[in-house]
Amino acid sequence: MSASNTTTITSIGAPNRRNTELALLLFAVAIPTYAFADAGLAKHGSVPAGLAEYGLGLGFLAGIAHLLVRKFAPYSDPLMLPIATLLNGLGLVLIWRLDQEPSITTPQLGGAMAPKQLIWSALGLALFAGVLVFLKDHRILQRYTYISMFLALLLLVSPIFFPARYGARIWITLPGIGSLQPGEFAKIIITVFFSGYLMVKRDALALASRRFMGLYLPRGRDLGPILVIWAMSMLILVFETDLGTSLLFFGLFVIMLYVATERTSWIVFGLVLSGAGAFVVGSTEPHVKVRVQDWLHPLALQNGGVTETAQSMYAFGSGGLFGSGLGQGYSRLIGGIAPKSDYILATVGEELGLAGLMAILLLYALLIERGIRTALAARDPFGKLLAIGLSGGFALQVFVVAGGVTGLIPLTGMTMPFLAQGGSSVIANWALVAILLRISDTARRPAPAPAPSPDAEATQVVRTQ
């Protein structure tokens, strides 16, 4: 061993795990392709016509993404891209499979959804590529702290000017393009704002506080702006009757505040506020009241008919341990487009069984774990806050949606990231993964090699034996 090696990090040969990513990507493309063939065989007795195109297309998109990661974020986390690809691919197969049910694929319901979702997924990957190529360093986002605040608020307010759909006012309709859920994008942008703001203010929030009833309360001037933002977003969301996004934003806010200040009092504060908020909304808003009743009595009949909630419970229960097999379940009984969007997990539960559903949940868990690991590894406070905000928000979304559909908590109108039908969701989540990859690339990048030291060279001892 050469004595000159005084540094522990070398600039060459550090494992960047890109080949691991490539190998995992092969599985992430092969599994949905196989699932597609399986669903086609079950539904029509033949391999679906577009199988080769689908497999090659998914492989092509994943390959491009992989090459871009190799070039622009070579040290980034190797698991996130394969997991996102696998979930997105499986989502497409599930939507295609549900498209084969004529009763829920009528023109009134928008016809077949899978082709559109494929286009949205491609757009999502394009945004993913854009973020990787143009966002050289995540700390650039810090410059846009206050612009992010205004942009997020604008996105949150915009659906008020458009008509409500399915009881929630969370869509904006653009003629010729379709409808968008701006809340999905606001989720990322408001995280940028929280990170930038909290990074600057965290010392003030943590240290300059008053003790009140055993809790450390920050000074009003530090807390003021953030409380105002929170209250405004809450008001907007309550007004738009979208409980899920409201819960997500609030949880995100509390998590980031806690991480920034390291003060447990924030959690108490947050729980009190959210409890009060949930109670007030739950007891006043009729739309939410119905949801709570459905949650308490999932199998109750409504006007003699079986409710959506009950139908999804029946789908889960009928799936059992191993499921009926793709294409052989009856989750279409839920009716409407809900089985493709909010209730997509019911199809997973019925057709892939408890085993398949747990596998999907564990994939989400793994993605969240990689995000939190990135936050731990990040070296700058802004990166830490942004990474924990994005992955914590993702975790909350998965919990709120999966918990709502399986009856753990009242159902709220949000979609399962990557899996469910919906353009905004898939695009926004690809962007989210891209930002996390960017942070992890910075975090895992080896420190630059120290400048060569002429002294060390001079005193080098050479063994000749």
Binding site: Y258, E262, L321, A395
Partner: protein, 486 residues
Amino acid sequence: MNKPLRRVAVFCGLLVLALLLRVNYVQYVKADQLSNDPHNRRVAINQYKQPRGDIIVDGKAITGHTTTTGSDFKYKRTYTDGPMWAPVTGYASQAYSTTMLEGVEDKFLTGDDDRLFFNRTIDLLTGKEKQGGNVVTTLNAKAQAAAYHGLGKKKGAVVALDPRTGAILAMASTPSYDPGSFAGNSATDEKNWLALDKKNDPDDPTLNRALRQTYPPGSTFKLVTAAAALQSGKVTDIKQATNSPDPYTLPNTATKLVNEGSIPCRNASLENALKYSCNTVFGKLGADLGLDTMVKEAEQFGFNKQQFVPVRADASNFDTKMSPDQVALSSIGQFDTAATPLQMAMVASAIANNGTLMQPYEVDKLVAPNLSTISQTSPKVMSKPLSPDNAQKLQQMMETVVNSGTGTNARIPGVTVGGKTGTAQHGIGNKGLPYAWFVSYAKTDQGSPVAVAVVVEDASANRDDISGGGFAAPIAKSVMEAVLNK
């Protein structure tokens, strides 16, 4: 910042753990309950995913199936002579569930029964579709036709049993319905179903009167009272005069019990009392025997208990707490006494079978799709309400009724027939049209092959015309003939 980050990581882990526990609860712990919930449409979809097995009478299927399109359900049930067989088959409707044999043997007919597990496994391995098993009944098509057509447009029911085994040979109920008319789930099916509802049709055609309707048995119940008198030893010689006033004043009351018309009932012998159907004699007998003896004998015949054939039959009633005057009225089939047609057929069959009551049943065997017999019903003794001696005495009395009493309409040349008529009053102050009853059996050298109970509740007939002998006996006769000529 790493300490709170780790805590957030634990928190996220707990969220995922909660989800995993929840999905295990829903898809494992609650799976059976949810997948078998009656509101879960998958239950019905699976029921009609493959052709149902058939219900078979005399080697011929009385059910069938046809494929349907435009709905969740692939196969629809069809029925041959639906209205005639409805009390036996019940219905299997995509929209309105199942009843009677279709309901009781549903799992076997769909092929989901555990006893068909082996067949299902073989089908799975050979790639065949799941198949339903067949239910072979004990019914006799000719007897059933005689019963159903005998009732015709009248309201009523017929049950015929083989006294030697308890096998049900005929079970008719009118007015009936066609179970095939609402077997699907279309708008037409719904319309037909609603039209049959009791609210829209006061005749309640879907009611199985043979098993699920109890009627006051009237004079036919005197057979039970006579059996009690013989079994208790109160009467040993059926030709000996009894000590019976006419009219008979009910115990501890001033109410006088009289007979219908002027018939020789004062101190009549048991045989003559049955021949002329003397209320006074049997009322007094019942009161003298006492509540306990009467209850015991009635319950030996099957009263006060639901029967499962395997379709459930309502319990017939003989009150267990009564004053002596009520016992007297109950002993002539009035007061609260009520019996299903099946129950009265059981009474006749026990007498015909020399005192041994066989458990009634209508399913002979269950046959797997590969025609192997999965289960065979073997006749079982239910009770022995009469000793053979006493049974023969009672047979002699019932034969007298047919030969020279009120039941002459049931006479069949060359065959020994015993019977008993009944005309039961009902309604407030007995203003309702009475029910006509006739119970009988026929006997050959090989014992008695058939016992029948017929009840006719005919609202369109004159009050005077309704009598067991006039209305019900000819139906019983044609049913017995159908069985004998087989």
